[in-house]
Amino acid sequence: MIKLRRLERRYPLGKEKFFYVLRDINLDIEEGEFVSVMGPSGAGKSTLLHILGMHDSGWAGEYFLAETAVHHLKPKERATLRNEQIGFVFQQYHLLDDLTVYENLDIPLSYRRYSKGERAALVADMLDRFQIVGKKDLYPSQLSGGQQQLVGVARAIIAEPKLLLADEPTGNLHSSQGEEIMELFRKLNDEGMTIVQVTHSEKNASYGKRIIQLRDGWLVRENR
C-alpha cells in the first residue's frame, strides 16, 4: 500500500542551514495493516502523517501509494489520488463550526464524484453506522469531544478510502471516549482498511499490529 524510500523533510534554518524533521525514512506498509507511529513530541510524527496524507509536498525522496509514484505526480494528480485513497482524522477534529453534523459529513463527498442521491445515501448510512442519526442537525459546539471525534472519523471514511490516517485521534479525549474510537478503528481494520495512526499511548498502540518509533526524525525501531 505504502512504500517510502529515502524520504526527507527539512526546513531552512537561515543561510544554507537546514533543520531536518525527517531523515532517510524507508518504510513499507502492506494493505490491511494497522500501524501505530510513536515517539516523543517533536519527533516528526505529524510531519510524516501529513506527508502521507499529501497535505505537505515540500519533501524529497520516493513515496509510492498503491503502486503510484506520488513523487512524480503533479499537484492536481496528487489531489485526485488523495481523494480516491485517503481519509484523515485530526487531533482537534477540525469540524466546521458553521455546519451541522450532516453537512460536515457531506463535505468530502461534495469534492468527489458522487451524485446527490449517492451523497444522501452515504451520509445516512454513516449516521446510522455511528449511531448519530439523532444528532445530524446539531452543530459541533453542541456535541461532546468524543461525539465530535466520532463525526471526524465518520467524515474521514465516508468517501470509502483505502487508507485511514489519524494524528493522535484520541489526544483530546477521555480514556473511555478514546477506547470507543479505537474499537471503531479495529472494526474498520477488520473490514480491510489500512490504518496509520499517531499515538502516545501504548494501550492505543496495542490495537494495531505494528509500531513504528520515530526519534528526532529518524526511524529508529520497528516492532512487528
Binding site: 496524507g53 497535505h55 489531489a79 482537534q92 477540525h94 489526544g171
Partner: protein, 819 residues
C-alpha cells in the same frame, strides 16, 4: 484630545495602505459632493449679483390659443405698462444688440444690449467710471452714447483712465463713452431666450440707450423687447401680477384689433432669480441625489474597513478594557481616528473639487448660464466641513461601538473563535456590501439611462447635415447699409465670393440658424380662411434664407422648388414651408401653390405663394420635435444680421482665413462673428445636458469603483476569517477550483442580493430622471440588463483576487500545529 489625535495619527501612519485607501475613498466622495454643492450654490442658492435680486422680475406675455408662451413685449405695450403700473419701483425694456466695433487691424463684433434709461439703475449696480444713461438720451438723435463693460475697457482700451468722453466707431457711427460697468457685472442676457441674443449669446459688453422709433410705436403686435422691473418696496409678485392683468384688460379693450377677445392673452410676472434657477434645477437635484449615494457608499466602505481593523485589534482592545479603559475613552479614540481620516480625505476632496469645477467651467461656461460664477466659497466649504465631520462620525460609529464592547472572555481565550459576535458582525459586513452594490446599481442605471438618452440624441437626424459646415454671422450697420437693396447686394456678393473659393461646395445664409437658440415667429393669414377675433390668426416660425441655403445645410426639397436668384425683390412674392407646416395647415397634402400673407388680410394684403416644401429641421433642440417653419427669400425680406453656412468637402474651419479675406474685400469694416462649425453649434445646444451626463457618469464610475473596493475588502476579510475552514476543506479533498468557487459563490450571493435590491430601488427611482431622458424609457430593459452585467462583472472581479489568495492557502499552516 491632543493625545488622542496624536495616537490616531500614529495609527494612520503605521498602516499606509489602509490609510491611503481610506483617504482616496473619502476624497472621491467628498470631491464629488463639494463639486455638486458648489454647482448648487452657484446656480441655485446664491442670489443673482444685483441689489436685492429677489425684487427683480421679468414681465413676459403669453397667447395661449396660439400656443405662444414667454413672449416679449412691443414698444407701445411697454409704454402702457410704464405709464400705468404702480407695482414697480422702476421698469425697463431692453433688447440684444450687436455692434461692429472698428479696430486698427480688423473690426470686431461685440455683443451688447439696447436699454431704456432705467434698466441699468434698476439692477442696482453702479458704473465704476462715468454715469448711467439720462432719460433724455433715450430719444432719437440723442442716443449716440454708450456704456461699456470693464472687460472691454481693459481688453480694447488698456484701462485708459481718459475713456469717458472717448468716441467709439460702432456700426459705422460715432458713440461717446459715458460710463464703464464693473468687471463683476453681468447683464442678464444669457438667462432669457429673448430678443436676438438667444440662450447662447455672448456676455454684454456695450450698452446703448433705447429710443423707440415712430415706426415702432405704431406696431403694437411687433414684440421684441424684454421687459424687466424692480418691484416697489412692499409689493408682492402676486400684487404685481394682478395689476399687470388689469392693465392687459385695459389694453385689450382699447385696442380690440390687436388682441383676441378671450382669455388667451395674458402677462406673467416672473422672478428673475427663479427664472435663472429653473433650467438647471432638475439636473442639479439629481446630481445632489447622486453624490449622496456616493457618500453613502464611501461610508459603507469605511465602516467595513474600520470593522476589519477593529477585528484585528480585538485582543489589544480587550486587554485595554481588562486593564480598565472606559467605553467612552475607546469610543473617543475611534471617533478621533475616523474624523481625522475623513478630514484628511476631505482636504484632498476639496482639491479634487477645485480641479473638477475648473474643468467644468472650461467646457461649459459658454453654454450654461451662470456657470462661470460657480466657485467653492466659504458656504460650500462650511457645508463640506460639516459633511466631513458627519461622515467621519457615521462610519466610525459601528466600529466604535463594536470595539468598545468586545466579548472579553472570547477574545482573551486562547484561539477562541467567538461565534455569535462573529456572525453578527459578518451579517453587518454582508449588509454593507449588499447596500453598496444596490446603491452603485441605482447610480449606474441612472447614468446608463442618461448616457443612452445622450447617445440617442447624438444620433437624431436634425434635418440638416452638420458635418464639414462652417457658420459665421455678419451684421451690417444701418449707416452704410440703409436700405434692403444694399443689404441684399452685400450678402449676395459675399455668398458669390465664398462659394467660388476652392474647397467650398455650397454657401448660403439665413437670418436664423437652427439649434443656435434664436427664433422669430410671425403671425399670418391663409387665403380663403378668414380669421375673426375669436379664432386667432396662426403664428409660426419664420426665417429669411438665400436660394442656396438649403443646399448648404443639406436639407432636402420634398416638393416644388428651392428659391432662385429670380425670386428677387420685385419678383412675385414666394415662400417655402417645411413638412410639418404643410401637414398642419393642409393635412390633405395640397399646400403647394396656396397663398398666405403677413399683412392684414382685410386690407388689400400682399399674397405670398408657397412654391416649395422642404424637410423638417429640429430648430429648438435635438430633443424637441420639429415645429412648423416658413422660409421667405432673403431678397424679398432683407435683414441686417445674417448667418452664413459654408459647406465644404473637408474640415470647413480650414477655409476661415480665405472666407474672411473675401468678406473684408467687400467691406473691411464688417467683422465675422461667432465663427463656429455647425457641429459645435449642435454640441453647444446640448451642453447643459452633456454636463449632467458627464457628471452623473463620473459619479456612477466612482460609485462602482468604491463598491468594488468595498467588495474586495470584505471578501479579503472573509478569506482571512475562513482560513481555517478553507484549510480543512482542502485537507478533505477540496481542489483549488472548489475553494475559488466557495469564495466567489459567497460574493456572488451578496452581489445578487444587492443587485436585486438595487434594481428594485432603481426602478422605483429612475422616473425622477424623466425630465432628462430622451426617447428612452425610465424602465429601459436593455440599460438595466447592461448595467447589471457590468456591475456584476466588476464586483466579481473585485472578489476574484481574495478568492485566488484563498486557493493559495496552505492547509499545513492550519492543520499542522497540533504537536
Amino acid at each position: 484630545m491632543l493625545k488622542d489625535i496624536r495616537f490616531a495619527s500614529r495609527q494612520l501612519v503605521k498602516q499606509p495602505a489602509f490609510t491611503s485607501i481610506a483617504v482616496v475613498t473619502i476624497a472621491l466622495a467628498i470631491g464629488a459632493t463639494t463639486a455638486v454643492l458648489s454647482l448648487v450654490n452657484g446656480l441655485m442658492v446664491r442670489p443673482l449679483s444685483y441689489r436685492e435680486p429677489q425684487q427683480l422680475v421679468l414681465l413676459l406675455q403669453h397667447f395661449k390659443s396660439q400656443n405662444l408662451e414667454r413672449i416679449p413685449v412691443s414698444p407701445p405695450e411697454f409704454k402702457d405698462y410704464e405709464a400705468r403700473a404702480h407695482s414697480f419701483e422702476k421698469l425697463g425694456a431692453f433688447r440684444y444688440t450687436n455692434f461692429n466695433l472698428a479696430g486698427e487691424d480688423r473690426p470686431e463684433r461685440i455683443s451688447g444690449a439696447t436699454v431704456t434709461a432705467d434698466v441699468l439703475p434698476l439692477l442696482g449696480v453702479s458704473p465704476i467710471r462715468g454715469r448711467f444713461f439720462q432719460p433724455e438720451e433715450c430719444s432719437l438723435g440723442r442716443d449716440d452714447v454708450v456704456i461699456i463693460s470693464a472687460r472691454l475697457w481693459q481688453r480694447r482700451f488698456n484701462s485708459d483712465p481718459q475713456i469717458i468722453g472717448t468716441k467709439l466707431l460702432l456700426n459705422g457711427k460715432n458713440f461717446t463713452v459715458v460710463g464703464v460697468m464693473p468687471a463683476s457685472f453681468d447683464f442678464p442676457l444669457q438667462l432669457f431666450n429673448l430678443g436676438n441674443g438667444g440662450q447662447f449669446g455672448g456676455r454684454a459688453d456695450i450698452w446703448k440707450p433705447l429710443a423707440f422709433t415712430e415706426e415702432e410705436m405704431k406696431k403694437r403686435g411687433s414684440r421684441s423687447y424684454a421687459m424687466i422691473g424692480r418691484l416697489a418696496p412692499g409689493t408682492s409678485l402676486a400684487q404685481a401680477q394682478t395689476e399687470i392683468e388689469s392693465i392687459n384688460a385695459q389694453m385689450r379693450r382699447e385696442h380690440p384689433d390687436n388682441y383676441m377677445q378671450d382669455n388667451s392673452f395674458g402677462g406673467d410676472v416672473l422672478s428673475l432669480q427663479d427664472l435663472a434657477v429653473s433650467g438647471m434645477r432638475p439636473a442639479l437635484l439629481i446630481l445632489l441625489g447622486a453624490v449622496f449615494l456616493v457618500l453613502l457608499i464611501a461610508c459603507a466602505n469605511l465602516t467595513t474597513m474600520l470593522l476589519a481593523r477593529a477585528a484585528a485589534r480585538e485582543r489589544e482592545i480587550a486587554i485595554r478594557v481588562a486593564l480598565g479603559a472606559g467605553r467612552l475613552r475607546l469610543l473617543k479614540q475611534v471617533f478621533t481616528e475616523s474624523v481625522l481620516l475623513s478630514l484628511i480625505g476631505g482636504v484632498a476632496g476639496v482639491l479634487l473639487a477645485l480641479w473638477g469645477v475648473e474643468s467644468l467651467k472650461a467646457v461649459g461656461a459658454q453654454t450654461v448660464p451662470r456657470l462661470r460664477e460657480v466657485n467653492i466659497d466659504l458656504v460650500v466649504l462650511g457645508v463640506t466641513l460639516a459633511i466631513c465631520v458627519g461622515t467621519g462620525i457615521i462610519f466610525g460609529l459601528v466600529p466604535g461601538l463594536a470595539s468598545s464592547r468586545p466579548e472579553l472572555t472570547e477574545a482573551l481565550k486562547e484561539g477562541g473563535r467567538s461565534s455569535t459576535v462573529g456572525t453578527r458582525r459578518n451579517r453587518l459586513r454582508n449588509g454593507l456590501v449588499i447596500a453598496e452594490v444596490a446603491l452603485a446599481l441605482v447610480l449606474l442605471s441612472g447614468a446608463g439611462l442618461l448616457i443612452k438618452s445622450f447617445a440617442r440624441l447624438q444620433n437624431v437626424n436634425p434635418g440638416f447635415n452638420p458635418r464639414n459646415a462652417l457658420t459665421f454671422e455678419v451684421s451690417l450697420p444701418k449707416i452704410q447699409y440703409p436700405d434692403d437693396a444694399s443689404v441684399v447686394r452685400f450678402n449676395n456678393e459675399a455668398q458669390r465670393r465664398v462659394a467660388a473659393l476652392p474647397g467650398v461646395q455650397a454657401a448660403g445664409f439665413s437670418t436664423i440658424l437652427p439649434l443656435a437658440g434664436t427664433n422669430s415667429d410671425w403671425s399670418f393669414a391663409i387665403e380663403g380662411r378668414p380669421s375673426d377675433n375669436n379664432s386667432p390668426s396662426p403664428d409660426e416660425e419664420k426665417r429669411q434664407v438665400s436660394p442656396d441655403y438649403f443646399r448648404a445645410i443639406e436639407t432636402p426639397l420634398i416638393k416644388g422648388r428651392f428659391f432662385s436668384d429670380a425670386d428677387s425683390a420685385d419678383a412675385p412674392l414666394v415662400i417655402s414651408v417645411n413638412q410639418t407646416f404643410a401637414k398642419k395647415f393642409w393635412p390633405k397634402g395640397d399646400a403647394l401653390g396656396k397663398r398666405i400673407t403677413f399683412d392684414d388680410p382685410k386690407k388689400n394684403p400682399k399674397w405670398i405663394t408657397i412654391v416649395g416644401i422642404v424637410g423638417d429641421i429640429r430648430h429648438f433642440g435635438l430633443d424637441i420635435d420639429p415645429k412648423p417653419e416658413m422660409y421667405v427669400p432673403f431678397s424679398q425680406s432683407a435683414y441686417s444680421t445674417t448667418i452664413c453656412v459654408v459647406r465644404s468637402n473637408q474640415d470647413a474651419r480650414t477655409l476661415l482665413a480665405a472666407i474672411r479675406r473675401e468678406i473684408q474685400a467687400i467691406d473691411s469694416a464688417v467683422p465675422l462673428a461667432n465663427v463656429r462649425s455647425f457641429e459645435t453649434v449642435i454640441a453647444e445646444s446640448v451642453a447643459p445636458r452633456r454636463l449632467s451626463v458627464v457628471l452623473l457618469g463620473v459619479f456612477a464610475g466612482v460609485a462602482v469603483l468604491l463598491a468594488s473596493v468595498g467588495i474586495y475588502g470584505v471578501m479579503s476579510f472573509l478569506v482571512v476569517q475562513r482560513t481555517h475552514e478553507i484549510g480543512v476543506r482542502m485537507a478533505l479533498g477540496a481542489q483549488r477550483s472548489d475553494v475559488l468557487k466557495l469564495v466567489l459563490f459567497r460574493s456572488l450571493k451578496l452581489i445578487s442580493v444587492g443587485t436585486i435590491i438595487g434594481l428594485i430601488v432603481a426602478l422605483m427611482s429612475t422616473h425622477t430622471l424623466r425630465a432628462l431622458l430622451y426617447s428612452v424609457s425610465a424602465f429601459d430593459a436593455m440599460t438595466f440588463v447592461l448595467v447589471t452585467i457590468l456591475l456584476g462583472a466588476v464586483a466579481l472581479a473585485a472578489s476574484y483576487l481574495p478568492a485566488i489568495r484563498a486557493t493559495k492557502a496552505d492547509p499545513m499552516v492550519v492543520l499542522g500545529h497540533n504537536t
